[in-house]
Symmetry: C2
Subunit: 281 residues, 2 copies
């Protein structure tokens, strides 16, 4: 069993991105820029946003942080996002979710042009993924593909099972794996025979959001298991996989924390750099 060290791989990627961001700056006489919009005082969101800004600094991406009060009007947030859409220094725009309940998130997100949608959540970008065309892909599933790739795991022809069909993980994950020539099955709350289907997987992706949901009897001997779950039990993080019992059966497995998690921000930086590159093409 090999533990996939997401922290180490993410650090390698950040170091590569740092060089690439410097190259971009040298070549085009402009710094790669990411705008981050946070509305309100949500504690977890503040931590995420701070981490994203710090990661930008580390790799030499300029961040434009916009903190707006909880009671911001729909129009004020839309106006800000539209201004960022027009700002040539900004190659990517990230609106931290969730937004306060009185705001219409969909309308605000629709102000982000596809070319600056670094989260890849827009219909236009997920549509391009569904058509296997170039575009921006959601950071977490993209991070999973990068973990597999950098661990030397080829997915072509393999049976991949994705458990969970959320818009930001399960669905783009399924499309990425399909585009990489895996034979993909998507399971969800309505699936019968979940155990049997999971136990056929060469590559099992758990994105359910239920701690220790994937148990050892659901995993084939020698499978690759990627745990996207981040669940809080008391004050500790737990994945969707019953790690201690599942790990001995696997060929590769990601831990939680330190597996997929660190990849998400690394992929956000990569997406920002990619948006910048496409903007000068």
């Amino acid at each position: 069993m090999t533990l996939i060290d997401g922290k180490k791989i993410a650090a390698e990627i950040r170091s590569e991105l740092k060089a690439e961001a410097a190259d971009f700056q040298a070549k085009y006489a402009q710094q790669v820029g990411l705008a981050v919009v946070l509305v309100g005082e949500d504690a977890a969101s503040q931590v995420y946003v701070r981490n994203k800004i710090r990661a930008c600094e580390e790799v030499g991406i300029r961040s434009f942080a916009h903190f707006m009060p909880t009671d911001s009007t729909q129009k004020s947030v839309e106006d800000l996002v539209c201004a960022l859409a027009d700002d040539d220094r900004v190659h990517g725009i990230l609106v931290q979710l969730p937004l306060p309940a009185h705001l219409d998130a969909e309308r605000i997100l629709s102000c982000i042009p596809r070319q600056k949608d670094v989260d890849g959540f827009s219909a236009a970008n997920i549509g391009r993924l569904a058509l296997d065309e170039e575009g921006t892909v959601a950071c977490t599933p993209l991070g999973v593909m990068e973990l597999l790739h950098r661990s030397g795991i080829n997915v072509a022809g393999k049976r991949a099972v994705v458990v969970g069909r959320s818009k930001i993980v399960g669905r783009p994950m399924m499309l990425l794996l399909l585009n990489a020539d895996a034979t993909v099955t998507v399971c969800h709350s309505r699936t019968n025979e979940l155990k049997r289907i999971c136990s056929e997987a060469d590559i099992l992706i758990a994105a359910v959001g239920k701690p220790h949901f994937i148990t050892a009897d659901m995993v084939k001997q020698g499978a690759v298991v990627i745990d996207v779950g981040i669940n809080r039990i008391d004050d500790k993080l737990a994945g969707d996989v019953d790690f201690d019992r599942v790990a001995p059966k696997t060929s590769f497995i990601t831990p939680v924390p330190g597996g997929v998690g660190p990849m998400t921000i690394a992929m956000l930086l990569k997406n920002t750099l990619d948006c910048a590159r496409r903007s000068v093409r």
Copy 2:
């Protein structure tokens, strides 16, 4: 074994659509309109376009047929599509494919606004399907769902296997089945153990484009088999399914011709009416 009679079901749908199109016209004082653009002299395309125009007439949808010469310039086709995009009488725009090789099809199709994209081929529309949001869905996979629905086949919780991952059938088919709560597997040319995976399907969708590709040993006793293939052998049509040997094992099966085929135009008419309805909302 029950034969799913696509011809009969499509006729029922056209008859319903005729009443709905008349209702729309009475309520909004405008006729539902579909523009069809054909560039060049391709014989098969001319037949398809004629059939579409005739179907429009039958249900009371006004068709705007535009036949352009083979040597039309990129600009002239784009200008026409843009004019149709601005024409309030036109609720749906269909550009018959394939276009002559000297034209950039992607750029021409991108002139069709999402709201008039009755084929549902645009990234914006397939993205909405991938996010399970309202939009226009490609006619053939939509027709398959309608055949299942009108045959009383519930897909929720069932194992559905789609063989083929094309942009216009396999991929939207997979997303439709997922949105309808099936547990979906997509197989393709790189899939190993195709026979074993197919034989686990409660619902098997063949969209490969190879005559008689799906043989009896790939089909579970009692499965529902939907054959999207339309292959020409000598002068006869053959599906992707070895019908004579597969049919006895199935609970439901579509023939070729007379199964999925007739549904495609019926769904085009339905999509046009839906676009018209959304235009007045």
